[in-house]
Amino acid sequence: MASVQVSEAEKVYIMHGVRDDLRVDGRGCEDYRHMVIETDVVSNTDGSAKVSLGHSDILVGVKAEIGKPRALVPDEGYLEFFVDCSANATPEFEGRGGEELGIDLSNTLYKVFNNKHSIDLRSLCICPGEHCWVLYVDVLLLQCDGNLFDAISIAIKAALFNTRIPKVHISEDAEGGKEIELSDDPYDCVRLNVENVPCIVTLCKVGQRHVVDATLQEKACSVASLLLAVTHKGMVTCVRKMGGGSLDPESISEMTETGKRVGKALHAPLMDLLKKEEGLGKNRQKVGFLR
């Protein structure tokens, strides 16, 4: 993943700051950076969102296609994730480097989002055993400035909120054959219930404390971080330890506690914001890519 070189003196400076709950950019340990969310940015997707968190820029597009349900769960649809690490984001993504990171990221996203807790997968089923909706979630990393997972998860939640799946009718002909008909009216759509979609909170252990939404500099000072996916009810749906270091049991429970608190608090304002933006309709001010 993207990283920067930090000198020893800088490290000491950052770590002392974190100890006193004052980070280099003036934030406290549990504060996020400034966040910009915009939905419905790509017109040829069924749902899209762009999130900037600090200088991290993420674009997520959701496409709904009709596919065959998996043999084990015939009455459910499913999500597919693809993360494209553009070489624009950081030079390290050039060639195979980005590809591998992309696979790892999408595997983790799959674990976090593709389960019954986050989205009612049954609502994606059209006809058990034969047809279901497959949501292709494409994540494009435009710029990396630390804390990718949190930004991606927020962008995915926003994009899923924005997703409109066309209504379908199943008509049966005389011989019992089934036919799927798409609704003619483009506004005749189904929306997803995204209330339960978790947000990821990554906590970086810096010195004795841990920080939320670490910048690349802070990340360089930390040996281990904990990724937590938290729902709006404060349930933890996924935990991963990342990085080459280990954590003592005490700080794990502290970090889960913080993660839960921060994650839970993230959901309500996010939903409010998304609803408010939608309420603006076509009149909203477009921020766009070229600001």
Partner: protein
């Protein structure tokens, strides 16, 4: 799906006979662990070093029906030259589930699950290995799961750390793994495959999940943490603690296996 031209392929499509069972028949019976094993008990493990003659170090581990073999090669010169951080060595991992290891036949091509497992394995082992002692080199860890009867990640971690030690790689501590399956209020330590998937596929309730912890027993530090499902935060914290206890129970067996390997390699001098 990329076609595999380098292997012999069978028919385009074939289905496991399990799919043809009448729907009410249950193949996986989630046992209630009556009698033989308490909820907090780990299965007795069998571990032995040095079974792969060609490898620098190797280990075989059996816990119940779960069978895992691991070999370690290296350290040798790193293949990736573009790596910025050359001051410390790298761990590489090839994690495979044998096609016959699961209830349903797996594919030969490494799937997402295997990739995920190998990333998790590396992250769990890394804190235990003195990588700064191996600059510009890579250590290869190859794991094959011969039979999957639950808790494979945890046992693979234990098995791989024994193999690393057997290979003479400098380590701070061995790494032990333990998995826990939370099912409502009950938690089952070191679940079997049936317990692991049990009503996982059926309805989800509250507090359902699976937690895998990797532990450095002498430092009492958690080197790997992997949890899926939906759990309350206090349940999660409790689960981590229970897993750590489970890890400690494995320690004597691992120590014994390593001692045995060392004794065999350097027989005590006869006076």
């Amino acid at each position: 799906m990329p076609t595999d031209t380098k292997r012999l392929r069978g028919p385009e499509e074939s289905q496991s006979p399990m799919l043809f069972l009448p729907p009410d028949a249950q193949i996986l019976k989630a046992s209630s662990r009556d009698g033989s094993r308490g909820h907090a008990d780990v299965r007795p493990i069998f571990a032995r070093c040095g079974l792969v003659s060609q490898a620098k170090g190797s280990a075989y581990l059996e816990a119940g029906n779960t069978k895992i073999i691991c070999s370690v090669y290296g350290p040798r010169e790193t293949e990736r030259k573009d790596e910025t951080d050359m001051k410390s060595g790298r761990l590489l991992c090839d994690f495979r589930l044998a096609p016959f290891s699961c209830l349903k036949r797996g594919a030969w091509i490494q799937g997402n699950e295997e990739r995920d497992l190998s990333v998790a394995l590396i992250e769990s082992l890394q804190p235990g290995v003195c990588l700064h002692r191996y600059p510009r080199s890579q250590i290869e860890i190859n794991v094959v799961v011969l039979e999957n009867d639950g808790s494979i990640l945890a046992h693979a971690v234990t098995c791989a750390s024994i193999a690393l030690a057997d290979a003479g790689i400098e380590m701070y501590d061995v790494v032990l793994g333990c998995t826990l399956r939370q099912d409502g209020d009950t938690c089952l330590v070191d679940p079997t495959f049936a317990e692991e998937s049990g009503n996982w596929l059926g309805g989800y309730g509250e507090n359902q999940g699976r937690v895998t912890v990797a532990l450095l027993p002498n430092f009492n530090q958690v080197s790997g943490l992997h949890a899926d499902g939906e759990m309350r935060e206090d349940t999660l914290t409790e689960a981590v603690r229970t897993c750590m206890d489970g890890c400690h129970k494995l320690y004597p067996v691992v120590q014994h296996a390593l001692l045995r390997a060392v004794k065999r390699k350097a027989p005590p001098s006869v006076k």
